[in-house]
Amino acid sequence: MTGQNVESPRRRTAEEIGSTDRGPRPLPGLGTARFAEQPPRIDTMLPNGLRLVAVRQPTVPMVELRLRLPFAGTEREHAARAELLAATLLTGTTRRDRVAMDTDLAMVGADLGAGVDPERLSIAGNALASGLDEFLDVFADAVTGAAYRDHEVDRERDRLVERIGVARSQPGTIAREALQRRRFGDHPLARELPSTEAVRAVDADQVRALHDQLVRPSGGVLVMVGDLDLDAVADQVGERLAGWRPGPATGGLPEVPRIEGGDVLLVDRPGAVQSQIRLSGQAIPRHHPDYPALQLANLVFGGYFSSRLVENIREDKGYTYSAHSTFEFTGDTAGILCEADTASGVTAAALLEIRYELSRMAVAPIAEAEVTAARDYLIGLLLISTASQSGLAANLQNLATAGVSLDWLREHPERLRAVTVEQVSEAARRYLAPTNFTGVVVGDAAVLGEPLRALGDVVLP
C-alpha cells in the first residue's frame, strides 16, 4: 500500500505503531451508576377482554403499538391460512380499500404490518403522536372490518407462493425447517412456513372464517409506548375497539414436546460453500427459579461476544463470523438454540468445539469473573434495551404474552445479583450438557460426510 497522498517522513512498522514511550495504561474504573426512572404505565383489561399496557415515554413525538393474539391451530391447513391472513389483513376493510389503508396511515407518518408464527398473530406499527387517533382508527378498522376481497387474496396468494420460494432458497430457512422437524416432529411449531401447495389451496372464505374465529380480543395483549396521555389512552383505545367482540375459541398452542437430546442430523445441500450448525436443548422459562442462573450460564457459554464459544471458534480459530446461543420461548416452556455458520472444510471441527464448550460448561469449573462479567452485561443490556420506545415496547410485549409480571424488568438486576457461581454451575450441569442437545447440520454432504462420520453422534443422509 503506497498512500501516495501523504508526505510522511518514514513508515513506521506495526511494532512501532503498537507501543508508545509511556507504555500501557490502566483501565479506568466505572463512574457512579445512575438508575433509570420507571416511566408511568397503565395495565388494564378492556371490557372486550383485551389487555392494554400503555407507557408514557415521550422521548420523541411517536407512538409504538404492538398487538399479539393467540393464533395456534392444530389443523394441517392452519399454517397456510394463517400466513395468507397475515398477508391480506391490511389490504382493505369495508370502509377502506388497499390504497386508502396505506394513504391514511402515511398521512400520520404511520407504518403497520402483520406477521404470524405457529403461536401468535402480531400486528405492529408506529405513528407520529399527533396522528394517534387516525392511526388507531385504521388499526381498529383492520381488526374489526378486514374485508379479504377476493382479488386481494388472489394476488397475495400468488406473491406468498413466490416469497415462500425465495425464503426456502435461504440456507438459514432450510436449516430452521430441518431443526424444527428434528426437535418438534409433527407438532404445529414445526410448521413455521407452509408448503406452497397448501397456500395455493386456501380461498378467501377460509381466510375470512379464520379471522372470524381467531382475530378476537380475548387473550390478546396490546402494548403502546410513546408520547401518550395515560389518562385518556384507555378510553381512546376502548372506544375505537368497542366493536371488536370476544369470540368463542382461543388459539392456544398444544403442549410443546420436550426437546430430547440425540444425534445431529446432517441435511445435504449439494454445492454449499458454508454449513449451518443448529443445536438445541430443553431449557426453562423466565418465571422458573433457576432461570437467572441458566441465563448467566448460557451467556458464559455462547450468549454474547465475550463468551467461551465466540472466543474459541471465531477469535481463536476463525471458523465462523458469528456464533451465538439464545433462549427461545414457546408456549409455557423454553429451549436454548446454539447457531453457527462455518465453511465446509471446518464444519466438523466447529461442531467438535461446540460440543467441547458445552461439555466444559457441564463438568468443569466456571470462574467467578465469567459470571460477574455476564451479570453486568445483562444488567446494562436491560437499561439499553428499554431506553427507546421500540425497545421498551418489545420487552413489555414479550413479558406480557409470556404471562410474566411487567415489574420483572425492574426486578431482574436484583435477581441476577443474587445468583451464586455454584448455582450457575448447577444450571450448566443440568441444561448445557451436550447429551441434552439435538440438532442439524445443513451443508454439502459430499464434503461433510466423512469428517462428521469420524466425529460421531451424527446421522448421515
Binding site: 503506497t2 498512500g3 508526505e7 510522511s8 513508515r11 506495526a14 505503531i17 503498537g18 509511556r22 500501557p24 495504561r25 490502566p26 479506568p28 474504573g29 463512574g31 451508576a33 445512575r34 438508575f35 422521548t59 420523541v60 411517536m62 389490504t91 394513504t103 396511515l105 402515511a106 407518518g109 404511520a110 394476488r155 420460494g165 425465495v166 426456502r168 432458497s169 430457512t173 432450510i174 422437524r181 410448521r191 408448503s195 401447495e197 397448501a198 449439494p270 454445492g271 454449499a272 460453500v273 458454508q274 465475550s306 477469535e315 481463536d316 463470523y321 455458520d341 465453511a343 453486568d376 452485561y377 445483562l378 443490556l381 437499561l383 439499553i384 431506553a387 427507546s388 420506545q389 421500540s390
Partner: protein, 435 residues
C-alpha cells in the same frame, strides 16, 4: 425532532469532537468515524478497509486481544464497527457510568493498535466466513451493492467490491496494515461523537485526558471520486446460483448531497413516492395492479440515504417471476418517471412521504446508537452534525415541482441496469421443506 444543543470542539491533534447531551436515560453512545472507506483502498487490495476494521478490535498497547469486547460487555455495553464507501465507524453503547472506559478503549486503539500476523490471518478467516454468509452462500447476496457499481461506475474506487476478493484478502500483509493505519487513522482524520447521558464539561475533560496525547500526524488529502455520469445506458448481468427468481437493479446518479442538499432530498422524496408502501406509484402498478413484480424497492444510496459523498447512487430494485420480461418492467418505470416529471406528484403524495420520513427520523433519533452514528457521519461527511435535527424541516420544504425535477433527471440513458439471472442450484431448493 427533539432539539438537543450540540457542542463541538477540536483537540490540538486535530480530532474533531461532537457532544450531544440528552439525560433522558442513563445511557451513553460513543462513536469514532475515520475518514476512510472502501472507496480509498488501492487496486489489488479490495476489501482492505473492512479487513482493517476487524483488526482494530484485536488489541492495542494497553489491551490484550479480546480485552476490548470483554471490557465493554462487562460494563453492560454493546459495540460494533462498520465500513462504508467513505468512512469506517466504531461504536459503543453502554450505561453512562462506563463513559470514561469507552473513551479509554477508543483512544488506546487510535494511539497504538497492536497489529500482528496471527491476528491478521485469524481475521482474514473470519472475514471470509462473513462473505460466505452474506454473499456467496445465499440468494441475492451482494445485490445490488456489490453487483451494480461495476456496471454504473468506471473508476476502480467506485466500481470495485468493498467486501473484497478472497485472493486480495489473503495477500494482505502486516506492512499494508501499518501503512494504512499511519496514513488514514490520524486523529485529524476522525470525528469522535458522544451522545446521551453526559455532562458537557466533564465529557470534555475526559476527552482531553484520553485523546489529548494521541500524536498528531499529517491529514491525508482526500481524493475526489468524481467521474462523469453515463451518457448512454449501461447493462450488466450477474448469474446467481442460489436465486430462485430473476431480479434487476436500475442505478442512477444522485445530486451531490454536499453541494446541493435540497436536490438530493427531492430524490429522497421521489424514492418514497415511487416505492414506499401500497399507495406508492411503482408498488401500486407493478406489484398490485398489473401485476408484474413480487417486490419493488427504491432508495437513495447503496445502503442508506446521506451515507456517502458524491458520487452516490439512486436505486430501483425489482424481483419478478420467471416469464415476465424485464424490458416491460423498465418501460413501466420509465413511464411512471416521465409522468412524474411532466405532471409532478400531488401535494398529498408529497405530504405523506415527508410524514413517513419524519417519523422514521424520530425513531432513528430515539435509538441512541443510531443517533450517535448519524451525528458522527453527518459531521464527518458534510461538516454538519446539525443536519440530524434539521432534516425533517428540510424535507418538509421539498415540493411537487422539486420531485418532478428529480424524476426528470432519471433518464434511461443515464442509468445502469444490472440483471440477476437465477442459476441452476436454486430450483432444487424451492419447496424443499415439509408441510
Amino acid at each position: 425532532m427533539v432539539d438537543h444543543l450540540l457542542h463541538r470542539f477540536t483537540l490540538p491533534n486535530g480530532l474533531r469532537v461532537v457532544l450531544a447531551p440528552d439525560r433522558a436515560a442513563p445511557v451513553v453512545g460513543v462513536s469514532v468515524h475515520y475518514d476512510v472507506g472502501f472507496r480509498s483502498e488501492p487496486e489489488g487490495r479490495t476489501g482492505f478497509a473492512h479487513l482493517f476494521e476487524h483488526l482494530m478490535f484485536q488489541g492495542s498497547e494497553s489491551l490484550e486481544k479480546l480485552a476490548h469486547f470483554r471490557h465493554i460487555q462487562s460494563s453492560g455495553g454493546t459495540f460494533n464497527g462498520s465500513t462504508h464507501p467513505d468512512y469506517t465507524d466504531y461504536h459503543i453503547l453502554l450505561p453512562s457510568a462506563g463513559l470514561e472506559r469507552a473513551l479509554f478503549l477508543e483512544a488506546d486503539r487510535m494511539r497504538a493498535p497492536r497489529i500482528t500476523e496471527e491476528n491478521l490471518r485469524n481475521q482474514v478467516d473470519v472475514v471470509k466466513e462473513e462473505i460466505r454468509l452474506n454473499v456467496l452462500n445465499r440468494p441475492y447476496g451482494g445485490f445490488p451493492w456489490i453487483t451494480l457499481p461495476p456496471v454504473l461506475y468506471r473508476t476502480f474506487a467506485n466500481a470495485h467490491n468493498g467486501y473484497g476478493d478472497f485472493t486480495d484478502l489473503e495477500q494482505a500483509t502486516v506492512e499494508d496494515c501499518a501503512a494504512f493505519f499511519d496514513t488514514y487513522y490520524a486523529p485529524s482524520n476522525a470525528v469522535l461523537t458522544i451522545a446521551g447521558d453526559l455532562d458537557v464539561d466533564h465529557a470534555r475533560e475526559l476527552v482531553e485526558r484520553h485523546f489529548g496525547d494521541v500524536p498528531a500526524r499529517p491529514t491525508p488529502v482526500r481524493p475526489s471520486f468524481a467521474e462523469p455520469a453515463p451518457t448512454e445506458e449501461r447493462r450488466g448481468e450477474h448469474e446467481d446460483p442460489h436465486a430462485p427468481l430473476p431480479a434487476f437493479a436500475a442505478g442512477y446518479r444522485l445530486p451531490d448531497p454536499h453541494a446541493d442538499l435540497d436536490a438530493y432530498l427531492a430524490h429522497l422524496v421521489l424514492s418514497g413516492v415511487l416505492a414506499d408502501g401500497d399507495s406508492s406509484r411503482l408498488t401500486q402498478r407493478l406489484v398490485h395492479a398489473e401485476p408484474l413484480a413480487i417486490e419493488v424497492g427504491c432508495r437513495c444510496g447503496l445502503f442508506t440515504p446521506l451515507d456517502a459523498r458524491d458520487p452516490d447512487t439512486f436505486l430501483i430494485t425489482v424481483v419478478h417471476p420467471q416469464g415476465v420480461d424485464q424490458e416491460i418492467l423498465l418501460a413501466a418505470i420509465d413511464e411512471e418517471l416521465e409522468r412524474l416529471a411532466v405532471e409532478g406528484p400531488g401535494e398529498d403524495e408529497v405530504t405523506r412521504v415527508v410524514a413517513r420520513w419524519a417519523a422514521s427520523l424520530h425513531r432513528e433519533h430515539d435509538r441512541l446508537m443510531s443517533r450517535t452514528l448519524q451525528l458522527g457521519a453527518f459531521e464527518l461527511l458534510f461538516g454538519r452534525a446539525e443536519l440530524a435535527a434539521e432534516l425533517p424541516e428540510r424535507l418538509g420544504a421539498v415540493g411537487p415541482s422539486d420531485v418532478a425535477a428529480a424524476a426528470k433527471a432519471l433518464r434511461p440513458e443515464s442509468r445502469a441496469v444490472l440483471t440477476v439471472r437465477p442459476g441452476s442450484a436454486a430450483n432444487d431448493d424451492t419447496d424443499g421443506g415439509g408441510q
